[in-house]
Subunit: 205 residues, 2 copies
DNA sequence: ATTACTAATTCACGAGTAA
DNA sequence: TTTACTCGTGAATTAGTAA
């Protein structure tokens, strides 16, 4: 696939059954060029054509979907001091609505309680801000009785080889210097941690 | 923005703070080319650079977001015969969980009942299939007591100047020949319709 | 290390036109 | 109508290299 042809894939994803002439108008590229792009995309099996116009093939749909999520695997390292949360974390993580999703999407049943880190440097706070804008593992919101519990995003993370996850609630705007983590075990006890201990976190982004 | 530079915008959307060299690896284009693209994107104010790498600016974020939803406004016309549903429609549409969303996102409080059309031609059935794959107005699922009610997609639609909407439940796989519509009024009564009447629907996609 | 300039090369573009 | 071919032209690419 030539880079420019991405335009057509996005367009066809949004509106299957388009004509080449329509795409030409929307993108602002001559019909001849659109045609050339479409010929290549068809030869690659990403696009098909019928009497109603062009559409993505199954492969094309998969391709554009995975492309839109394209990102390199990177590790971001943060360091911060352990602080006490307000005990809210334990309440939320204890709810089946969150706990089950974490089990299913991240791979462990979280210990009902969160580890709160106060990041040491403003560099790390800045990186934390970047993290909050990234698309991680989506945890859906849900309704429990009359209360609504919001969405969150997670990233796989490690503290001293202990596998866990960073938890970023979508709507509540924590301080950029605060990072919240969940683990399958009571990490405070397992690693004999206390408030003020300096910890290094490796986050998979 | 040159067309190719879209790659970088998508990438930076997914992973802000990337280095040019990383983007080069992921996209498979030499670093020199990435650099040239980034120079242009910065001069256009879509991308900014700091000590941590490149990120989208606010304008860049808005730009890529609107691009990903790019599609031409089109009208699709269907014709079909009015048939009786199973009365399920009325039950679902009557639920506040759906009704309120339709009011908010489409602009009218739906009459609790749906109009079911049996499409006349296989051409129309094929177009209906295309419609089901398009991204329309999203109606979220919700939980009511123990029951879960699934997502749906809507499109603005008209029957004889009467404004309504096509309703496409996400998970239930209706026959492609069946189209379900909602209106702010009891259209059957208002237009004195009866089963078997031939109707033309204009759908905004 | 990362980023960006210059210059040689390539190959994508699109007007004309046919099917 | 819509789609796609040819081919002359020029813009986009990228290796080499510097900062």
């Amino acid at each position: 696939m030539k880079k420019n042809e991405l335009f057509l894939l996005v367009l066809l994803k949004n509106a299957p059954g388009l004509r080449g002439t329509e795409m030409s108008e929307v993108i602002g590229v001559p019909q001849q060029t659109i045609s050339r792009w479409l010929v290549e995309l068809q030869s690659e099996g990403l696009v098909s054509r019928d009497a109603f116009g062009y559409s993505l093939t199954v492969e094309g749909t998969a391709f554009i979907k995975s492309f839109l999520e394209l990102k390199p695997r990177r590790k971001m390292v943060f360091s911060g001091k352990l602080v006490s949360g307000l005990g809210e974390g334990a309440y939320y993580i204890g709810l089946a609505g969150y706990s089950n999703q974490i089990k299913q999407k991240i791979g462990f049943t979280p210990f009902p309680g969160t580890l709160n880190l106060k990041l040491s440097s403003s560099k790390d706070a800045r990186k934390n801000d970047l993290l909050r804008n990234m698309k991680g593992i989506q945890i859906d919101g849900f309704k429990e009785g009359n209360r609504f519990f919001g969405e969150a995003t997670c990233f796989h993370a490690k503290i001293n080889s202990e596998e866990g996850a960073v938890l970023i609630p979508k709507r509540t705007h924590h301080d950029s210097k605060v990072m919240e983590l969940v683990f399958p075990v009571a990490l405070r006890q397992k690693l004999k941690l206390k408030d003020g201990d300096l910890l290094k976190v490796q986050v998979e982004v």
